[in-house]
């Protein structure tokens, strides 16, 4: 690869007679393009070998009966037909959608609230931003484990605090009952992602010129009017980005439920990615798992394109 960097490397000058006659600047350009190719080669290898090839392989796997151990055999379209009878996956769709809607609304409300609170620079505001953001630095798996312990009746303090506040009586089964398990997980991810989403909105808020606010103040606009007719409209592209990230992230949720509820009780909190994971590594059926993955992939790509299109259309 590096030979292309040396002046007068044979590959660049000696291969074709016609090129020898070309003017020197063209030869130089050609050599420079080979050098550029050499620098880009590692990135190209990563994209091809670790991304493009796996993507194509997943299409091929989804057309085969592909056990974890043993020889694959072509069986298309059996893996796709089997999706219609895969009760765990089908029920995981409804559950994942419900989760996505609930957390996206919560993410937006908490992130906007926090971002507005720390929007202006004033003493100590940097520390506040850091405090709100710190949960996002902890890994999602660690955060889920932390809340698993917090929710534990003997070990964790959450039930004691709720009892002291008079909100509950007796022991609370935070994770052993479907609605509670759902709510407990939603609280955990809201804590984990509020600061992260706040920072996204904050980058948008800080791009709004102070002059605009000043003008609104001169016109006697109230706080609420300023928020509704200035901040939110100007923040729209950033809000759209936050919502897209929240929707795609939530549709792909794995760690919170895998760690906190393990999909229970009685499979009531199994997400789509968990169903796919179970197909592959509990039932050892990689072909069906690949088919599920591709369905998920197509849905998410379509959704991404649709959201971008909606945002763009709204701009016109």
């Amino acid at each position: 690869m590096m030979s292309a960097l040396l002046p007068g490397a044979p590959a660049a000058s000696g291969s074709a007679p016609s090129r020898r006659r070309a003017d020197p600047s063209a030869r130089l350009r050609r050599r420079r393009s080979l050098v550029g190719l050499a620098y880009a080669a590692p990135a190209a290898l990563v994209v091809v070998l670790l991304f493009a090839v796996p993507l194509l392989l997943s299409v091929w796997m989804s057309l085969n009966d592909w056990p974890l151990i043993g020889e694959p055999s072509f069986n298309a379209p059996a893996n796709y037909q089997a999706i219609a009878g895969n009760d765990l996956f089908l029920s995981s769709i409804a559950f994942t959608l419900k989760y996505t809607v609930v957390v996206t609304i919560l993410y937006f409300v908490t992130a906007l609230g926090l971002a507005l609170l720390v929007q202006q620079s004033r003493p100590g505001v940097g520390l506040l931003r850091t405090a709100f953001f710190l949960p996002a630095v902890v890994g999602l798996a660690s955060a889920s484990l932390l809340f698993y312990a917090l929710y534990n009746n003997e070990f964790g303090p959450v039930d004691d605090v709720l009892r002291a506040l008079g909100l509950v009586e007796g022991d609370v089964d935070f994770l052993g009952q479907p609605d509670n398990a759902f709510a407990s997980t939603v609280v955990m991810v809201t804590w984990r992602f509020a600061g992260f989403n706040m920072l996204i909105l904050l980058t948008g808020l800080q791009a709004i010129s102070p002059d605009v606010y000043e003008a609104a103040r001169m016109d006697g606009a109230s706080w609420w009017q300023t928020l509704r007719s200035i901040t939110l409209p100007l923040l729209r592209p950033t809000i759209a980005l936050m919502l897209i990230l929240s929707v795609t992230g939530s549709l792909l949720a794995f760690e919170p439920f895998y760690v906190l509820t393990a999909g229970g009780p009685s499979n009531s909190t199994v997400t789509m990615v968990m169903a796919m994971f179970r197909e592959a590594f509990t039932l050892f059926d990689l072909g069906t798992a690949a088919a599920l993955a591709l369905v998920l992939l197509v849905v998410l790509v379509v959704l991404n394109v649709l959201q971008f299109w909606l945002v763009k259309r709204g701009d016109d």
């Binding site: 190209a44 991304f51 003493p123 506040l128 890994g139 484990l145």
Partner: protein, 293 residues
């Protein structure tokens, strides 16, 4: 909680540009009251984790009060804490180094050279952003198995480099583009090759971007859960998050919540420290669009 009350005091002591009136003082008190309460709410789970890892009967050997027994049991858990910490470190170091090598060279190529397939490569990297990560792990599992990288820390690191590529490549390309061309042209006239110009002159100019890229690569790979869960099959290869989740599911005996807290603290502290230290590089990356990755 100490973190926050210290912060609050510092905030209150900061000099005001002008003496505020009475109404402004009340508003200010309300503001700091509300926001401090919220900050306590957000920090309290982290503080509780640290506290409960050193406090309670399991931490102090039955007597109550403080002790490090949770950490003692954690050190001996499974294959041993050291094994898991080393595995996590190896994956993170390989991911950071691999990401930096690939995207510094690639960013240089994108910023300074015209080469065949440039647009295609750009689209390919962009496509990594569009494709949901978990869906590509199943074919990657087969590929790593075929090339003998199953149950391998290197295999996990390679996958992490791929996940980091889009953001890091764009970050490095933008960094190189903002370096004035005169800087390297002088070096090239002095007889430097493009590679020595890169190593001797340009690297220093793009160091801030490299820190951002490295920080994101570290946080992502240190905290990654699903890829090591799928690719690593032996306990001796587990990373900290995977080992802690198997502790929580009680795979090696009863669930030991005290040791689990100690494990969360050990896992979270490197991330918290690095973030606090390099916060402004993190925010830079965030503004540049890291969140899409």
């Amino acid at each position: 909680m100490t973190v926050l009350s210290a912060g609050r005091a510092r905030g209150a002591e900061a000099p005001h540009p002008a003496r505020p009136g009475r109404g402004a003082r009340i508003r200010s008190a309300t503001y700091y009251g509300t926001t401090s309460a919220l900050a306590v709410l957000f920090l309290s789970p982290l503080v509780w984790s640290l506290f409960s890892s050193v406090h309670g009967p399991r931490a102090s050997g039955g007597a109550g009060g403080y002790g490090v027994d949770n950490y003692r049991r954690l050190i001996e858990y499974g294959e041993g804490l050291a094994v898991y910490a080393v595995n996590s470190t190896v994956i993170s170091v390989l991911t950071v180094a691999g990401t930096l090598v690939v995207t510094v060279l690639g960013g240089y190529a994108f910023a300074r050279f015209q080469f065949p397939g440039k647009d295609l490569l750009f689209l390919g990297a962009l496509a990594i952003l569009m494709i949901p990560h978990p869906t590509i792990l199943i074919p990657l599992y087969e590929i790593l198995r075929t090339v003998g990288l199953q149950n391998s820390l290197v295999g996990v690191a390679l996958v992490m480099v791929m996940f980091q590529l889009p953001f890091s490549l764009f970050m490095m390309r933008n960094a190189f583009e903002s370096v004035p061309r005169e800087l390297e042209e002088a070096a090239l006239l002095d007889g430097c090759t493009s590679l020595t110009a890169l190593l001797r002159i340009l690297l220093r100019a793009v160091t801030p971007a490299m820190i951002t890229v490295g920080l994101f690569a570290f946080l992502a790979s240190w905290n990654e859960f699903i890829a090591p869960l799928i690719f690593l099959s032996e306990g001796s290869k587990f990373t900290l998050p995977v080992a802690l989740v198997s502790l929580r599911s009680g795979e090696l005996g009863a669930i030991d919540l005290g040791a689990l807290q100690a494990g969360i603290v050990v896992t979270a502290i490197p991330c918290l420290l690095l973030f606090l230290l390099l916060q402004r590089y993190y925010v830079r990356g965030f503004t540049a669009g890291a969140v899409r990755g």
